[in-house]
C-alpha cells in the first residue's frame, strides 16, 4: 500500500526566509502527487500537483515542488515566506487507477515576524 512520510511535524521560520517542507512516498509505478494547505479551522485547499511532464510544478502564490523519482520525494519550497503562509501543509499521493488519496501527517509551518 502507498504511504507518505512528512518528516517534519512543525517548521518555524522567520518572515522572508526560505523554507522547504519534505515529503517522501513509497515507491510505486505511476503515482500522482499533491500538496494541500489547511488554514486554521478550514478545509484543505489544493496548492499544487504533479501528474506528468516537467518535474517542477508551481503554485500561484510562490510555492514550488519538485518530483524526484529516484529519491521518491516531492518536497515543497518557497524562497521567501510571508506571515500569511502560516498553515498546515499536507502531501498526498494516489496510485494510478486508485480513487483514494493517501495523505501524510502534515507539517505545521509557522512564519514569525
Amino acid at each position: 500500500a502507498q504511504s507518505v512520510t512528512q518528516l517534519d511535524s512543525q517548521v518555524p521560520v522567520f518572515e522572508e526566509a526560505p523554507v522547504e517542507l519534505r515529503c517522501n512516498y513509497s515507491s510505486s509505478v505511476s503515482v500522482y502527487l499533491f500538496w494541500y494547505v489547511q488554514y486554521p479551522n478550514q478545509g484543505l485547499q489544493l496548492l499544487l500537483k504533479y501528474l506528468s511532464g516537467s518535474t517542477l510544478v508551481e503554485s500561484i502564490n510562490g510555492f514550488e515542488a519538485e518530483f524526484n523519482k529516484s529519491q521518491t520525494s516531492f518536497h515543497l519550497r518557497k524562497p521567501s515566506v510571508h506571515i500569511s503562509d502560516t498553515a498546515e501543509y499536507f502531501c498526498a499521493v494516489v496510485q494510478g487507477g486508485s480513487e483514494k488519496l493517501v495523505f501524510g501527517k502534515g507539517t505545521k509551518l509557522t512564519v514569525n515576524p
Binding site: 479551522n41 478550514q42 478545509g43 484543505l44 494516489v94 496510485q95 480513487e99 483514494k100 495523505f103
Partner: protein, 115 residues
C-alpha cells in the same frame, strides 16, 4: 461550478448522544465522496468513501457509519458518541475515475467536541 457544503461548522455533543453530519455536492453528478477525520497530531484518517449510491467502503472499524441516500449527499452518523470521536471531520469529493488527475475538493469541515 461545483461546490461542496458541509454542516454544521461546530458541534458540541455529550457522550452517548447520536450524531449526524451532512455533506452535499452541487454542480456535478455521480461524484466519489469521502469522510475524513483529523485528530491532533494524527493527520488525516480516511473513514469512509463511496463511489456511488449504496456503495460505501469503511476504512477503519469504529463507532461511526456512513450513508449515501442521494447521489450527491453523504451522511456520517453515530448512534452513541464516545469521547474519542472528537475531532475535525472533513468531507471531500472527486470526479469518478479522475481522482488521479484532479485530487479531491474538500468541504470546510465540522469541529466535533464530545463532552
Amino acid at each position: 461550478s461545483q461546490t461542496i457544503h458541509q454542516w454544521p461548522a461546530t458541534l458540541v455533543q455529550p457522550v452517548g448522544s447520536p450524531l449526524s453530519l451532512e455533506c452535499t455536492v452541487e454542480g456535478t453528478s455521480n461524484p466519489n465522496l469521502y469522510w475524513y477525520r483529523q485528530a491532533a497530531g494524527r493527520g488525516l484518517q480516511l473513514l469512509f468513501y463511496s463511489v456511488g449510491i449504496g456503495q460505501i467502503s469503511s476504512e477503519v472499524p469504529q463507532n461511526l457509519s456512513a450513508s449515501r441516500p442521494q447521489d450527491r449527499q453523504f451522511i456520517l452518523s453515530s448512534k452513541k458518541l464516545l469521547l474519542s470521536d472528537s475531532g475535525f471531520y472533513l468531507c471531500a469529493w472527486s470526479l469518478l475515475g479522475r481522482a488521479t488527475g484532479y485530487g479531491y475538493t474538500f468541504g470546510s469541515g465540522t469541529r466535533l467536541t464530545v463532552v
